[in-house]
């Protein structure tokens, strides 16, 4: 168990480092999948198989797939990688990395400073989780349902291609970029917008 934990931990950290250093988005996403899988292994080693399964299904499955969809839709390929290479100069990442390292050191010091007694880990079986989830946390589950619903509706609404109702604050920049509102007949523009932009 312990060995499993250490191995999967090393894999998780290493793949995460790869995620944040890749230039090509698809490479990064593949390393992210590896990272999620190894975190799932950590869950398994902690004796939480249900969570491990969910980790693999939702994170490594659904979320990664979503990302890949987006990458495909936006056609983020070699040019993006080239751009990332230009953007990731040392002067960009050195200072944030130092700050985060300080934070990391401080948190680890805090972690190991207060109590020295051994933290034993025992298995919590899915049955207890299910009872707790649908017992005392039932309202939170309902709320999570609302959240997911809102997420779906929001994503559907935002992701819809409706160039006509560009927010009026954004329209100036849009005109500056020279992007034409081809789908908008002038008579459909509301009075308010007309007044504002005249």
């Amino acid at each position: 168990m312990s060995t499993l934990f250490y191995i999967s931990s090393i894999v998780a950290v290493a793949s995460t480092v790869m995620v944040i250093t890749r230039y090509h988005p698809v490479h990064a996403l593949l390393y992210l999948a590896v990272s999620f899988l190894s975190v799932g292994m950590i869950f398994l080693s902690l004796g939480a198989p249900f969570v491990a399964a969910l980790e693999i299904i939702v994170y490594a499955g659904a979320i990664i797939v979503l990302f890949i969809f987006v990458v495909m839709m936006l056609n983020l390929g070699r040019e993006t990688a080239q751009q990332e290479k230009e953007w990731l100069q040392p002067k960009v990442w050195v200072v944030p990395s130092i700050l985060v390292l300080i934070l990391l050191v401080e948190m680890i010091i805090l972690l190991f400073s207060d109590n020295k007694d051994i933290m034993r880990i025992s298995v919590v079986d899915p049955r207890k989780v299910a009872l707790s989830l649908y017992g005392e946390y039932i309202i939170a589950v309902e709320l999570t349902g609302f959240l997911l619903m809102a997420g779906i509706v929001g994503a559907a609404h935002i992701g819809k291609h409706k160039r006509s109702s560009l927010h009026r604050f954004l329209q100036n920049g849009e005109n500056g970029n020279g992007k034409a509102h081809t789908g908008v007949p002038p008579e459909q523009v509301s009075n308010e917008q007309t007044v504002l932009h005249d």
Binding site: P96, L99, V100, I102, L103, E106, M107, I109, L110
Partner: protein, 627 residues
């Protein structure tokens, strides 16, 4: 007879109302009839009333008429109530009689002016207010009249308002008299607090019991009343408005700034004599102010070249004589001088108006000259006025009144040799500048052609006034001659008799000196200004700075400019941007600047925001580690 009282101020008021409401639509003859007629009716009623008063003196020495109650607040009850006693009778006689003559004169003098109705409306309102002032039986009504005459004075000085300097003169008169008015008002408040009444008779009766002689309260009250009188009567140091007030038409100068309004201060002090007698300090101050004023104004009159300004300074000087007489306790002498002065000064102003009119609005006396032959009637009347002004012995009204003041300034208990010497010097100067005025204007070479003869209606008032300027003095003779004391007998029904010193030198002696001094003044004027000498004298370079000093009225305007206006302007300049507001502006600008500083952080860079969050986390955790 009591019922007649209200009609005296009512007729001018009716005239004012008609003229101010319908004046623009009425033809000029109607305006003239209403304007002069109402005042003439008032004068006739006054004469009827006066005859009745003298024949059968009313009980208590005064006519009373209660019109209606004005207002009642707590203990304070103010009535619109009129009262005519011997003192008031003298004043209303002068106001209505001289006023009527001046109105008749004005109907011709102002004939060509576009604002005929406005002029007569203001004049009628003035007569009404002045009558209220002297007929009021309480001090609040008196104050109403007091402010009313101030308002009319303002309106009439600025009558030709198209000229900016006239408006400035009107403002100056209004503002400077306002200083006195404020003091008077505070004095009235104090009186009410002390005595609980503002009824004049009530005050005079209660005052001796309530105040101890010379106590701080009574001194303060009388000084405040005195300052009120000084403002209205153009006494030092509030005299600077009167010479500028000559910007108004000549009849206005004659009526308001010579005969009536400027003597309101004299009336106030005489009316409140009971209070002033309780405060010897104030009496002395009044006398000193009068003496100083008559000298200062007399000297200024010597150097003036504008005929009306000469008369204005001489008015200040003559009122100074009245104040001197009041100050030494010669009440009846002061009122007598007011009586004669009203005639001859009104005469002089009206005659000056005729001269100015005839010479194309020429004010400078050195541009006149030689008018003796060309305007003989004006010359004769002017001569009568000037003789009265310089107190030519026995043949002028001015002699009798001024001689009485000179005599009392020595012989009254409050008088002393210095006041007498100052008054004597004033008499000398008066004779000198009167002679100068006469010689320069009526003798010598003609310098400006006369373009029209004065209207007959303007000449008649001059003749009437000249007659009174000569004869008005005959009702009161010095004690050593004839001992005819009609006037002082009449006035002393109200005013106390003058307290005299125990051991007195012969009055003859003083009269001789006074006559001699007057003669010397006239002779000096004759030698200096007769023939070509006048021009030489006027142009002698050695005296230029002195002449300049006197010409500007002893630099009082410049002094006030330096003492009051400059510091005030300095303060306003400091406070131009509102010192107190600057603090609040500072707060606003400080927060605006802070906002600008901090809004640099809101630069839209998402990564910088996250760094901010990280820095916050780091700060908190570091804090936990360190503590």
């Amino acid at each position: 007879m009591n019922q007649l009282l209200a009609y005296i101020p009512a007729f001018p008021l009716i005239g004012f109302l008609i003229l101010s409401l319908f004046g623009r639509k009425l033809p000029k003859p109607v305006i003239a009839t209403i304007g002069a007629g109402t005042v003439c009716i008032a004068a006739i009623i006054t004469i009827v009333l006066g005859v009745s008063f003298l024949q059968t003196p009313p009980a208590g020495g005064a006519f009373h008429q209660l019109l209606w109650s004005w207002f009642k607040v707590g203990k304070l009850s103010i009535d619109i109530s009129l009262q005519v006693d011997a003192l008031t009778l003298v004043f209303i006689f002068i106001i209505t009689f001289v006023g009527a003559l001046i109105h008749i004169y004005s109907t011709f003098f102002m004939w060509h002016d576009g604002d005929y109705a406005r002029f007569f409306a203001s004049m009628n309102l003035f007569v009404c207010a002045m009558l209220l002032l002297v007929m009021a039986d309480n001090l609040v009504l008196l104050y109403l009249g007091w402010e009313g005459v101030g308002l009319c004075s303002y309106l009439l000085i600025g009558f030709w308002y198209e000229v900016p300097s006239n408006c400035r003169a009107a403002n100056k008169a209004f503002l400077i008299t306002r200083i006195g008015d404020t003091a008077l008002l505070i004095g009235l408040f104090l009186l009410f607090r002390e005595l609980g009444t503002l009824n004049i008779q009530g005050i005079l009766q209660q005052a001796p019991a309530h105040f101890t002689t010379g106590s701080a309260n009574i001194v303060l009250i009388t000084i405040l009343l005195m300052i009120g009188g000084m403002g209205k009567s153009a006494q030092m140091p509030l005299q600077t408005w009167l010479p500028d007030a000559m910007a108004g038409p000549s009849p206005v100068s004659a009526l308001i700034h010579a005969a009536t309004m400027v003597t309101a201060g004299v009336y106030l002090i005489a009316r409140m004599h009971g209070l002033f007698q309780l405060s010897p300090v104030t009496m002395t101050i009044v006398a000193i102010i009068g003496a100083c004023t008559l000298l200062v104004a007399g000297c200024s009159a010597l150097a003036q070249t504008d005929i009306k300004r000469i008369l204005a300074y001489s008015t200040i000087s003559q009122i100074g004589y009245m104040f001197l007489a009041l100050g030494v306790g010669a009440w009846s002498a002061a009122i007598f001088h007011f009586f004669t002065h009203a005639f001859f000064k009104a005469l002089l102003f009206l005659a000056a108006g005729v001269v100015i009119e005839a010479l194309h609005h020429e004010h400078n006396i050195f541009m006149m000259g030689g008018l003796r032959k060309r305007m003989p009637i004006v010359f004769v009347t002017f001569l009568a006025g000037a003789a009265a002004l310089s107190a030519l012995p026995l043949v002028s009204a001015g002699f009798f009144s001024k001689d009485a003041i000179l005599w009392y300034s020595w012989s009254a208990a409050n008088g002393n040799v210095f006041l007498w010497l100052m008054a004597l010097a004033g008499a000398f100067i008066t004779a000198l500048y009167s002679t100068r005025l006469m010689l320069v204007v009526f003798w010598g070479e003609p310098k400006t052609p006369v373009h029209e003869a004065p209207a007959q209606g303007m000449i008649i008032p001059l003749i009437v006034l000249a007659f009174f300027s000569v004869t008005a003095g005959f009702i009161e003779w010095p004690h050593n001659m004839m001992h005819l004391t009609l006037f002082s007998d009449h006035v002393q029904k109200v005013l106390p008799e003058t307290i005299m010193k125990a051991y007195l030198p012969s009055e003859w002696f003083f009269q001789a000196i006074a006559a001699l001094v007057t003669g010397a003044g006239i002779y000096l004027g004759y030698t200096m200004y007769y023939g070509k000498a006048g021009v030489r004298w006027q142009q002698s370079p050695g005296l230029a700075s002195t002449r300049e000093f006197l010409f500007s009225g002893w630099k009082f305007d410049q002094l006030y400019n330096f003492i009051f206006v400059k510091p005030f302007l300095f303060l306003t300049r400091i406070n131009k941007s509102d010192v107190i507001d600057r603090m609040y502006n500072g707060i606003a600008q400080g927060s605006l600047r802070l906002s600008n500083w901090f809004s640099v952080s809101q630069n839209g860079s998402l990564r910088l925001y996250i760094v901010g969050v990280l820095a916050g986390i780091l700060f908190i955790i570091t804090l936990q580690l360190l503590l």
